[in-house]
Symmetry: C2
Subunit: 226 residues, 2 copies
DNA sequence: CGCCTGGATGGCACGTTGTGCCAATAAGGC
DNA sequence: GCCTTATTGGCACAACGTGCCATCCAGGCG
């Protein structure tokens, strides 16, 4: 029942991604404002009408690219061992998802940077995070099975999502490289630690969480840049 | 130099607000999707062209209304006494700005609720908070004059803004009244406390902040509803 | 009083966005 | 090979948002 998606569905996803890459290249080159939907469609080899069957808003054409990282993040979190304290699992998966695994990932981050600098894509960026936050909420809810306060779960999800968002926006606005001080995983770890430090949710799901400063995933990184 | 704005400017603002109210009524009644810009313009007694001189996007016509609360919030914070610990000042002004002062404010909150339920106005809502966060950042920066870490200021602003946003969204999605348990100020106080609990920024600006649970503005409210 | 300058307004044309509808076509299961 | 289903393209169309120009109105000046 929860098997792999149907063939046609996977073909749709592939097309979707191809359009996304085409759109990202055009947006990065000449800006989203100056790029018409027809242009994207032509470059992707489809008709305008078909383009709007894949994306209801022109700017959303790059959403699959912007969302990929966040998707990976909550997937990693969902897979992470249940014994791991939630807060640490959150930070580890965030750092890992922000660390480029191969050359393709590095290139993706450079695209992300130019897209984030385009004010016209703000709305799409926000929508991506909104969707990410929702997915995160259900994963968090799974890990706190008993009657955890839904508001606290929501706050935790909001805080964690905000951490990622701020980290990436900060990085995109800077000229920092994709690794090392000022990189997404560096900023991500710092933001995540600060924003999730005071949340009550953790104590209830993992009493073992130490009170003192503990070794977390980000400590494996080079020292931060402040 | 920083005197009151020019006469024409104030007339512009008045017109702006009038259009906003007109648009809000129409959006609340029939949804933003089904409301055309021409309709709003006609109802406000102006031409379509003039409408687009006041708002560059149709949905933004209600932004002045949605932004009023946040504006009040950071204004209150800016005025609050400097001796007050920052975190407490933040929470107090938030609670105060979320408490309806008169019948007009109550009505405004009901409008806000219907507007927040309209998915088409999501973008505007996000933009309003984005602007609010930016204003908050400069107010926070003023209160932490020496070389405070800009990233921490930004995180504090993001956390506080997220608290307000979540509180209002939660309330709008519920059927809770405008005062008492589940009300914006109730939720706002809870969200603000949790999300700002762990931030490092506070300790540096107000060493006097007690570590134990302290009496804050929200304790004057009826018990929360969980 | 007439003149003139600057800002707000309205009307119009135009390119673009996004959608409903229908016919053509390709894909996948039997 | 057939049949069902989904995808695609073309077309028309309402709505969006902007550039351009003509008009109107307030207020300062000779």
């Amino acid at each position: 029942m929860t098997g792999r998606p149907t063939l046609t569905q996977r073909r749709r996803d592939a097309t979707r991604l191809e359009i996304a890459r085409t759109a990202a290249a055009l947006f990065a080159e000449q800006g989203a404002e100056a790029t018409t939907a027809e242009e994207i469609a032509a470059a992707a080899g489809i008709s305008l009408r078909t383009f709007y069957r894949y994306f209801s808003v022109k700017e959303d054409a790059v959403a699959p690219l912007l969302a990929a990282g966040g998707q990976r993040w909550v997937d990693l979190l969902a897979e992470s061992p249940a014994e791991l304290p939630l807060r640490e699992a959150l930070e580890r998966s965030a750092v890992e998802s922000l660390t480029p695994a191969d050359d393709g990932a590095v290139e993706a981050m450079h695209w992300t940077r130019s897209l984030l600098r385009d004010p016209r894509l703000d709305g799409t960026w926000q929508r991506v995070h909104s969707a990410s936050e929702e997915r995160l909420r259900s994963v968090l809810a799974d890990r706190c099975p008993e009657g955890a306060d839904p508001l606290e779960i929501r706050l935790a999800a909001a805080a964690a999502t905000a951490a990622i968002r701020v980290a990436l926006e900060q990085w995109a606005a800077s000229e920092a490289p994709v690794t090392g001080p000022g990189s997404p995983q560096d900023l991500g770890a710092r933001c995540m630690r600060e924003l999730t430090a005071g949340l009550r949710l953790w104590g209830r799901t993992a009493e073992a969480w130490p009170h003192g400063r503990s070794r977390t995933a980000a400590d494996q990184l080079p020292p931060s840049s402040r």
